[in-house]
């Protein structure tokens, strides 16, 4: 499985400390030559290392705002979490500010989230799903399942993410209304998240993505703020209801689904812990599992600016402001679904998700078993301090790296010291030995 990840390292800033290797949920980072190195196939782009790095040496590759000019007609697709970054009580102002940045149109991903909710409800009622259904909205969580929980792949909701549905509808709408060819329309996701960039490069469940670029919220934050100050008249652009906007924070998706038996978990390590319980056959009564890699949900994304807790509260306030308009706004969802005669089959995955077997020791089980024994033998000689000085996150990972041929046992400073001690003893021993010509028995 190819996994072109988007998280990169600024070598200048990296001190080669071990903070990131310790926090990575897929053990995808090693320190080599005093610099962190990300193992491409293992990285799921959860952004945990961006958050943990004290030197800000990790960053995500995203597109610049200038890149929208490659297209004749430019559409902004703001993530629901975008709304939470600013102290604004009217979403229209924010959407208008995006137009001021050079976009010709906006389509709210929050609206697409409502469409996804509509089809997810249908999917839940269909017979052929495995419970609990695992939300596919967070690409980092989907990749975590592919990498660490291959037996749960069949539980993943096989429905396109709101970002993808937004791009699809926005493009179709423009083609229809403006008579512009599809390849001249550019759809850009305004993103809190690095994993979405990876998704666009190698989509999950689909051959291609309708999204042409991903622009980090942090990169437009300042510009939007300054535009907000200038805006006087506001056009009515927003059609998303509180249900769609609520997706920005953890639990919003489940709330919109109106299923009682759901669990929502945020933070990649917490998600992994609960997935493990699902694997054990627990959480059987749960219908829906909403797992989001970032703490707080998408509002806590590594490319977002505002404090996630403040942002979460803003989302709550925006949703309650829209309460009296909820019905008319929700009617838009059906309007769109009908006007494009969208059916469940239009948003369902085109291809099955593959497992990402990077954690396997070998593709041949017998050889893998041999390697497993070797790992355990090596592990028994390591100190078990998980100090990270060897550049691997734990002694166990070092043992695996040695067996895989990427490291040596003397990479462990304790093993090295032990070897030096032995050598030193040997030297002392040898130095006490005299040549036979000098050896004499003093009688």
């Amino acid at each position: 499985m190819k996994n072109l990840h988007s998280i990169m390292l600024d070598k200048e800033k990296c001190k080669g400390c071990t903070n990131c290797i310790k926090r990575c949920p897929t053990e995808a980072i090693r320190v080599r030559n005093s610099k962190a190195r990300i193992i491409d196939q293992r990285c799921i782009d959860c952004g945990e290392c961006i958050r943990t790095c004290p030197y800000h040496a990790k960053y995500a590759i995203t597109n610049s705002l200038e890149e929208i000019n490659r297209f004749q007609y430019k559409i902004a697709l703001p993530a629901p979490s975008f709304y939470a970054q600013f102290e604004v009580d009217d979403v229209n102002k924010l959407l208008y500010a995006l137009l001021e940045l050079g976009f010709d149109d906006v389509f709210e991903v929050a609206k697409a989230a409502e469409i996804v909710t509509h089809f997810t409800k249908q999917f839940i009622l269909s017979e052929k799903n495995k419970k609990p259904i695992i939300s596919s909205a967070c690409p980092a969580v989907v990749r975590l399942v592919q990498t660490k929980f291959p037996d749960l792949i069949e539980n993943i909701l096989p429905i396109a993410s709101p970002m993808e549905v937004a791009a699809y509808i926005a493009k179709k709408k423009t083609q229809r209304e403006k008579r512009i060819e599809e390849d001249k329309i550019g759809a850009f996701f305004i993103s809190p998240c690095a994993a979405k960039m990876t998704y666009v490069n190698s989509p999950l469940g689909f051959e291609r993505s309708y999204v042409d670029g991903v622009i980090a919220i942090k990169d437009v934050y300042g510009l939007v703020r300054s535009k907000l100050r200038e805006i006087k008249d506001v056009k009515s652009l927003s059609i998303a209801s509180g249900k769609g906007i609520g997706w920005a924070a953890s639990g919003g998706e489940s709330l919109a689904l109106e299923v009682e038996e759901y669990v929502n978990v945020d933070g990649i390590h917490n998600v992994a812990r609960v997935l493990e319980e699902i694997e054990n056959g627990k959480l059987k009564d749960i219908i829906y599992f909403e797992g989001l890699a970032c703490s707080g949900g998408c509002v806590g994304g590594p490319l977002a600016v505002e404090n996630p807790y403040v942002a979460k509260n803003r989302i709550k306030r925006l949703c309650s402001n829209l309460k009296d308009k909820e019905e008319s706004l929700s009617a838009w969802t059906e309007e769109i679904i009908n006007s494009f005669s969208l059916k469940l089959r239009d948003v369902i995955f085109e291809k099955e998700l593959e497992t990402n077997p990077v954690l396997e020791l070998d593709s041949d089980i017998e050889r893998a078993m041999e390697k497993f024994e070797k790992v355990n033998n090596i592990l028994s000689m390591l100190p078990g301090l998980d100090c990270g000085a060897c550049g691997s996150p734990t002694c166990k990972t070092l043992a695996e790296d040695i067996v895989r041929g990427f490291a040596n046992d003397t990479d462990c400073i304790f093993v090295l010291r032990e070897n030096i001690k032995e050598l030193a003893n040997k030297m002392v021993e040898l130095s006490n030995k005299l040549p036979p010509s000098l050896e004499r028995n003093d009688e």
Partner: protein, 139 residues
Amino acid sequence: MLLELEFEIEPGNFMLAGEASSKIKETLKKLGVKPEVLKKVAIVSYEAEMNIVIHSVGGILKAIISKDKIEVIAQDKGPGIEDIELAMKEGYSTAPEEIRNLGFGAGMGLPNMKKYSDYFEIDSQKGKGTRVYMIIYNK
């Protein structure tokens, strides 16, 4: 070639409950066992481990992994099952009130182990202990 994993299970320790089956699962993932097989082993080993934690005075959970099959063995030191036939019924449980109040002991452990294993054998002697032997084929 055989790989043997053996874990001591502490009775009544809910903090550690599930750790042994997690390690078995992790091992199988490293070995690249197919997802369907992994899922079955995950469920039976977890249920077996929980049964030792809930009902026994301590025991061991063992997994013997070979190319073609995974054997899961749960052996405890008592008190044993009075009526095995009854214990195998879905929803039947002898778990004490305080355990049920914790949400455990719904009487699905043994039936689930049987359901998800390809071969299931249970041996129990009142006052002595229980041994559950299961095979999941690695097809």
